[in-house]
Subunit: 309 residues, 6 copies
């Protein structure tokens, strides 16, 4: 008679021991101590970014039934709570880095400084996102209102995350920033490295498959479509064969450029102001302002076949 | 001594004031009043669509332990609850549009009418999704059963969302429809505008990166693979330089067409019945029924290099 | 006076009856009985895989405040709980298959056997994921530490899911495996069929749009970028026009190969050891070890236009 | 530096071993096997009773926005779900008893029989609770409407639980019944043993501290106030000094009796029809119909003291 | 083979029909229409009262990590949210009463007026609860600090609920008030009717079983112990035998009175200032200021028995 | 047109200011600083005690599907987690006390010491609760098995909480202990001060209204029924009129005493071994071993009235 499952005998004791051995060896291999410091947490940063959205756009992304009397209290209370949580996440990153480097800096004050500086940037961030929304509304014939854009468009979700992540990257919390960028990547398929510098009025339409690299620089009023890559051409290695990290290796895209779906632009090249890069174009050299770049020919062949496959 | 975090001094009072000023200016800029009407909510529409799936396929997507005696009660109760919620979301959209247009139509009855009409379409929607499942099962050598297809395939998730969203779009709730489409986009990477007209037995395999535009028309038994775009070639502008919204600008794909991964098909062109469009093809002109379109040449060059990079 | 919504009249009785008729017809059509067996559940398998991650990397993905004294208890308790849940999911799959085949095998012991065998593979899985993390750290100039890679990189999320799913596929639970693969697909845009055989030190960068087919074979130290397809060229049909399922139809990629973004590699071909496949390359024939494959020419045309669009 | 708590050294290994030894000894002491059968669960029975309330009074205790069209679906769906859960709880009790008795009866069919029989009693239970509500409304000068009584009065909460628990007790699930009785006890301070037989129109006012024993028999239209006990006078022991279980040992209270606060009535005595038992009365012998029982004298002494204590 | 429960055959169709008939008859019996108006909800009022506690004592009952900068935002945001919810609950009560009376008053403005007036009383309520806390601290030798009193003492939980409920009762929302009083009754065993008028510095120790009636009047600095009743002696009936509702029928307790455990005080009598009422006293007549009331004799008999029972 | 509630104008700004003033004055009045230290939290201690129950009785109160292989991991993991949480609660109490006293002791190590010592007592606590369960089983004719007693009886819930709370009280965390005692009080109506010393095999039947004071001492095999008070006769005051706190003021109850419902025993008296105290007895002087104490006479008067009230 069996109302429930009674299977077992999984060999848990042995498994626990084996996995412990692997952990110990892995830590030894990396010359690390048993209790590695904690890392910033995706599970906690997700709601922090959602709350930042609510603070910046309380009527649209905040609590549902806000009115005049309560809105500033909502904004203040949400800010107070999220900044304290963000402070802890930043402190985790700083402590992790300090322990990796063998230094033992006091991190809480530095984390508070970064958080405070970040808070000061919020009005600027709001203005940038406003410009992104306006760009989307003007650039998409299917958009009916800027409110619809804010609530529906994955490109705006990506913009909110990037604007936030970039400030944190810039202020010295690149790992927190990266986690935030990956939250947007998972939700939208748009992968923008938090290091990328992006001016106002940036619009990504559809967006799935877009990749923008760490050292990319993007001007004002740039528009890109799905599956566009702004990538590195190759990775430099040093004399020991190790990758050189951090040098400028992604494109500069000047103001008013449009890049259509599937275009791949690689290396530290410059796409001149006002250029248009056609769909699926593969581009690894700079082009002057006002260029139109497209594929050279219709490379398709058509055979009439009478319907059979 | 410190058990908890005591950092602070975020300057919240100043931030709250700055953000309030930005909100006020933004509303003034758009000549809008302080209390903008609420929009339909992604957080609420998500469970509504999940429950629609449960109602249409109660044995597979419904409550786990349904049996003969209870199944109709489950379906009826779930319908009753979700239609009331959907009604509210539709009413929010209508009210939002009315306020934007400065009209003050009574929206609740119109919303009820749309919801009621939508409910009547559910059997048709079920039949369409049945045909999509069957198409996936027949079209994918890795599929073992139609049940597996329903539970696993992102293309079916996208189909359920689109079949629902398209009816709502058609009946006059395009913003609710758009939010539903974006839920599927986020979960699957498949971006189908709710306006797209898609006949039965539609199968999207893998799907990430697929984009199908608002005025696309797709016939029966069409199959598409990942990263296929059915897009607009260019956007028309009116004499004032404003985008012309709403005109037919995406492809017509006739019955029995197959479009392989990465193909880009742009503009109001027609892909004739039974055609096959090869991978990565770039197509901006119509092709007659029975066409086979592929890239004209093997454009790759191979260098034997002896193994070094 | 109306505080709440009173709309209704959805015609629920009629809808319930119509939907019941459709269900009955659909079951009859497939010659299936009224109470189809349950399928493995995405909602349950999600936390199971998350807990597998926590068991394999308790310091990074496990409970937040683990220490030396508690870590083995955490691992053992989590394992005990998740293996029992996994056992039930595997049993659901076996029973579903048995009923489809009209056999009535006792499934619980077979499910326990599969689960027990799977548990034994966990140390091997941990080592493989360790190698994937190391490969990502070494291959990405933006990576600062292997911990960051584990917590942030979508390619690692995909690797954890695939390493787990592949063992389950191999041991006889392909549907459970498929659900797990689709969880990763939804979260990362990376679509790896659980049947694919992938050796150690596999690194997918960015990842959105990657598709790897069921019979693909991938060697050690292979690196692929976003939107790479390792697909089938065509599907064979048998004499009845039905798809032949299960035969080898995807590429073999030997050790140390790098495949750049957007490359499409189709059919049972072999990419020789150490080859480099360039971005957007379309490849349907084998290449020998050490090949460099790239597009044959710069196919872009540039027109200087003075800035107007 | 410490952001988090690092205390530990709790000696968990030793504790786990000690507690294991105690468990093993305790089981041996009771000659029981290592895996005792599971018991019915308070955590699960709580929502089952809440849902029974919702099924019996859907407009008042059910889902908030029910209307004509949906109400029967709500009732049917809730019933279907709760009866299946109740069936499992009853089966757990039967299995537990069977294992204790060393028998190995098949319990699932018997549990289904009990559940089915219980379901048939629901209309009768509804009528009894209706009579209890009416009695409360008529008996309390503070009651404004019968709806208020249903939603607010702890005596009605106790009545719903008792009416349900008594049927289950009677049908052979006394442990499930007891857990339900204790849920009411915890919420209201009213402790009615599920064995007590209570006719219609029973009203408990305030209720805290009321205790009604297993073999009590209560007629129609009886009213009791807080802290009333209907208890056993003494417990009989058998020749071995063991308590004799199950014999009639609590009072019989005939129709139309009122028992004021704090009265204690002990033993298998009879309180005749229409009697009134005064507050704090201690009663251990039968009284004939129409009796008024009160304390014999004003036993208080009053000293004027001028205000000092 | 059975992994799950397949019992059924509960006869749900018949049950649903029977229960529907009972509902219809019950409504007809009370001459009520099919859709009775909704009542205020215990499930919603519970968090409202918790939040009122948080607003009044944010450092002790509010969000855990509040500091100077954020505390007023927390208070304002919580108030804004809870007052809107309370407004809805009050409106439900007014509408319910209006429909019962056959009137169709506009209730939303009246509900807003009540809510607004209630909000104005919050500072007064805070002062009263402060006085209750101080009284508990001074009156209980086991109390170590006033903070401990606020967080631990059931008498304070009851006081917070009563201070809130009484204002709502007074302002015209007696049903909302009653639900709040019953929340405290369930949590503490202390049953204070919201109509009771209680001056400052009221302390209930232990509290289980305390009952205080609707028209009781209690002065300043009164202390009562567990199981004290301030009740009605009898209920008057009118010429039709119906209870007369609303007249003064509970005791008046003047300032500085102490009432020890188990005392029962009934009827519209007056306990003069500074009196002490002993444990278990039964009192139905007024006593002058400064009285000491105790039981007249030691009514216990002791038999030395040599230890056997 | 109104879909939602738009009432407002609550005067929140003014309220926030008024409440702030009251807070500031209250803090000044008590000469306290603006940021009072946090107190132990009922919301957190509730699950800690539940988990202690699960650790002590994993088969009955632990995770539902434990088996041999997993049970020690469950116990160890739960212990590890709950002891860390308990440590934090104890540290909050110590810090609170230190700040009140103006000392600034380092509290974390002391809190760890208390927690460690508490952990060592768990086997003893388990044995005591085992004896309580056995006493209940033997003492209640309605009890069918000791398992039923553990899962159903409020007296056992109270015992588990008291055994835990008393150890914490004894080790120096009286406030944490008090919160735990009040959790039991709220759930069961049984109010045992954590200071009370209670030997093995203690059984409280029904329990509502039981009060046991801080300095009570209770021997082995004592049984008490509902509404029994073991209280203080009067509170001593010092020369300043302040209550003297902490001196022995509650009864000593020797082994094998039975105290029936409603008995009130006050003051530092001794109830000799094996005595029986009858229901409702009021006792303020010591009685020798073997005493039977009961009320002196049947004080009730019965009037036959012919049925009218």
């Amino acid at each position: 008679m069996s109302l429930s499952d009674t299977a077992g005998g999984w060999g848990i004791d042995a498994l626990v021991a084996e996995l412990r051995d692997l952990r110990v060896k892995s830590l030894e291999h990396r010359q690390r101590r048993e209790h590695p410091p904690k890392l910033p947490s995706r599970r906690i940063l997700g709601p922090i970014v959602d709350n930042l959205g609510a603070v910046l756009f309380p009527n649209r992304l905040g609590q549902e039934d806000l009115n005049d009397e309560g809105i500033d209290y909502f904004v203040g209370q949400t800010l107070d709570s999220l900044l304290r949580q963000l402070h802890r996440q930043v402190a985790l990153e700083l402590r992790f880095v300090a322990e990796q480097n063998g230094t033992s800096t006091e991190v809480k004050h530095q984390a508070a400084e970064i958080t405070r500086e970040f808070a000061k940037q919020l009005p600027k961030i709001r203005l940038l996102i406003d410009s992104d929304i306006q760009a989307a509304f003007e650039g998409d014939p299917a958009a009916r209102s800027s409110d619809e854009v804010l609530v529906c468009y994955p490109g705006i979700t990506a913009a909110i995350h990037h604007r936030v992540a970039h400030e944190l990257y810039r202020l010295g919390a690149p790992l927190v920033a990266r986690v935030i960028a990956e939250l947007a990547h998972s939700a939208t398929g748009i992968d923008i490295h938090p290091g990328a510098q992006i001016a106002d009025s940036f619009f990504i339409d559809h967006g799935t498959g877009v990749v923008i690299g760490e050292t990319a620089v993007i001007g004002s009023r740039v528009r890109v479509y799905q599956a566009v890559t702004l990538g590195a051409k190759r990775f430099e290695k040093d004399d020991n064969g190790m990758l050189v990290k951090g040098n400028a290796r992604h494109p500069i895209v000047e103001d008013d450029v449009v890049i259509y779906a599937g275009a791949t632009i690689l290396g530290r090249i410059t796409i001149g102001k006002g250029s248009i890069i056609g769909g699926n174009v593969w581009l690894t050299h700079s082009v002057p302002p006002g260029s139109h770049v497209s594929q050279g020919q219709n490379r398709t062949e058509v055979f009439a076949t009478g319907g059979g496959i």
